[in-house]
Symmetry: C2
Subunit: 470 residues, 2 copies
Amino acid sequence: MAEKLKLEKKNFSDWWDKVVSYTKLMDDRYPIKGVYVWMPYGHKAVKLMMQKVDTILEKRGNKECYFPLFATQAIFGKEKDFLDGFMGEALRITAIGRRKLDEEMIVRPTSEAIIYTMFNLWVRSWRDLPLKVYQTVPIFRWETKMTKPMIRCREITKFNETHVALATKEEADENIQEGIEMYKEFFDFLQMPYLILKTPSWDTFAGALYNYDFFTVMPDGKAVELGSIINLGQKFAKTYDIQYLDKNEKKQYVWQNTFGISERALGSSLSVHGDDKGLVFPSEIAPTQVVIIPILKGNPNDEKVLKKCEELNLPFRVHIDSSDSRPGQKFNHWEVKGVPIRLELGERDLESSSVMLARRDTGEKTPVKITDLEKTVSSTLTDIDKNLKKIASAFLTSMIKTASDIKSAETALKAGGIIKLPWCGEETCGKQMEKTLVGSALGINEQEKPSGKCNCGKSAKHYLHFARTY
Amino acid sequence: MAEKLKLEKKNFSDWWDKVVSYTKLMDDRYPIKGVYVWMPYGHKAVKLMMQKVDTILEKRGNKECYFPLFATQAIFGKEKDFLDGFMGEALRITAIGRRKLDEEMIVRPTSEAIIYTMFNLWVRSWRDLPLKVYQTVPIFRWETKMTKPMIRCREITKFNETHVALATKEEADENIQEGIEMYKEFFDFLQMPYLILKTPSWDTFAGALYNYDFFTVMPDGKAVELGSIINLGQKFAKTYDIQYLDKNEKKQYVWQNTFGISERALGSSLSVHGDDKGLVFPSEIAPTQVVIIPILKGNPNDEKVLKKCEELNLPFRVHIDSSDSRPGQKFNHWEVKGVPIRLELGERDLESSSVMLARRDTGEKTPVKITDLEKTVSSTLTDIDKNLKKIASAFLTSMIKTASDIKSAETALKAGGIIKLPWCGEETCGKQMEKTLVGSALGINEQEKPSGKCNCGKSAKHYLHFARTY
């Protein structure tokens, strides 16, 4: 029961494990480490989220496909950086039943090798470009790091990857901007504040030209990568021989981009928005947006109250909790579950034709006339979303600090959050700072003008962002 | 180009390969045998189909989950019949990168072992029942039989499996009927005629009590299993120790059912409905329901024609083909693609405010006033669906024959279709007939009263249905 659940968000790791388990988002008891089961409540949320991703992608002409789970060794090993980058965590299938396989297969840790084998067949002429496809699939990275439901898993169950082939470098750069716009729209939908940083050259995606990552800061002060926007250049095009005949009948290699997000976006959104009472769902991904609690007195009016609850018939995702528990227990239970709005309806409300509306985010309670209810619920959901975004943005801002030198950066980093340090732009300096700080270099914000000097004494070209990460 | 495509449905295997490839439903060129790539056109269709499955399942209280792809050997091997039934075709993961795994993992060929490991944790009391969950996931059966896109694959990409745990045998039997009703609704939606047969005891799903299968006959006369409704009894409950406390506080094993369908339903529906011109999509799963062909003359009116096409703004899945090809080529192309309705709009139509509507199924062309267009398209889609169902039903009926003895059954079976033979109900007789006929015993229709005598001379209790199968 909810009463027994002691939640303190400041102990984030414990808080997350408890809310995930209590609210039945995922079950972490499957007998393989780092592999989790989506329960109906969690699956509904992640499905609502991924449907939004589909809408955003389709609106811009990206089309859904499904590519195989397995790569052959031959195709997986074609791109050396990619092989080196992923093979260490890749699962190998070596046998069927009692027979050994003639050619081993790799379970996709990401799908470049698999998809570009097909792009090789699909791209013939400039008329086939741009080729814009995506899929939402499980991918597998058998990491040894600590695992956590949604946030760091070995089976990433809902990996949404977009792959684009374009005719020119200019179009590829433009499409990177389109990718950024799409992910902005997506994280805004989740009421998530973020930083968009260009990854340091030494940490760029295996085989890529450059990439941008979306980051936010988790309640424990660690940064988390929410999504990637990657310009692959022509490296894969050359490896997988993806060429088109241009308008002058000349063969050209395509330029390629890839973008990726996953259920980690849900995990991060819920981590950021939750509080000491439990989850707080942004309205669009809330499996239940409105819970109705009939206040029953054990008298003949109970039936009328229940009937009235049914009759409210609101055009939202509604659950009526007519279970045996006491109203107080129910309030508590649905607060932990993070339902944005609770409606209470008792016998007194029958006469006044009103209900009591309680907001999950502020706890505020207001009586609302039933005739106004639909409109009020709708505007309250919007208000809750705005408030969640406001609180989360203030938190993120408070977690980003600028340090003038590496000593103070070290101290700041221990307190958590993202630390910005003036940087000359040289790889050796960046790597040295990363080593000294025992934190990851996340990247730079290209729009931002730095002040101060790099560790080496030269003037700074950028702020390099550092954090401990998931 | 479509002109070069010679399609003859009577050469079904060739016809299927050609339409799947020309229409870009799937690509069969991936370098692993029996593994196919969903292209956007095919993926859209299978997604529309699976969304309908979700709706049907959710309406009856089944809730979506996602269970892991891998089983440990320990959990997979718990049920002996199940292990024997599936291990021969199961893929084994033995290593990560260069390291050997301490405990090998099995890629799910079906999810009973995985899901019931969780049911063991989820079921505690009668209040937890019925437990009704489903998932749509890829499953893997490394068969050696001939493979075919959608119809027989090693990676079944969209396997929809429902798993139900219930308190009593009676409830389980009732839920089997609910399963049958759900699948009837689903196949009706695909305009697919079917037979529902109870599987012979010797062919029942590994570990199950009894099961029903939905069958139809493909254009080449082979039967295909479209869906399964399986009563698992308590065997898995005992293996995975799934028990609940009943209202008298007594521990009881649950009763379990499982139902399954896959993309094979799409493949079969398209195989049955197609013709010598190509695909014919039932309206609900058509990626494009209406294709609009502007008839352009190379004069200034062209722009008006194109504008008018845009303005039609029909509330269906519409594609306007404004490509460079000639109208005749376009007609041909979209006929192969199976789009149910084609609208032609030229400069003459501007004055009359009408368009020409052509039906894919009959080829019939009718001018329609633009003011009536939405209503006419809607009713024509319904008519097309009805017509497809009628033709397919007549075909299935024509492919089911009753033989009085095994000799005539042998002859009939060579011509294809499903052959019914009087059967005493004894396993030895059934198996003997199966052996003699070189066809599979599909099962019996329990409602049907047979006449005639079994091969053994005893009077028949049922007709046993035989066919060559996919």
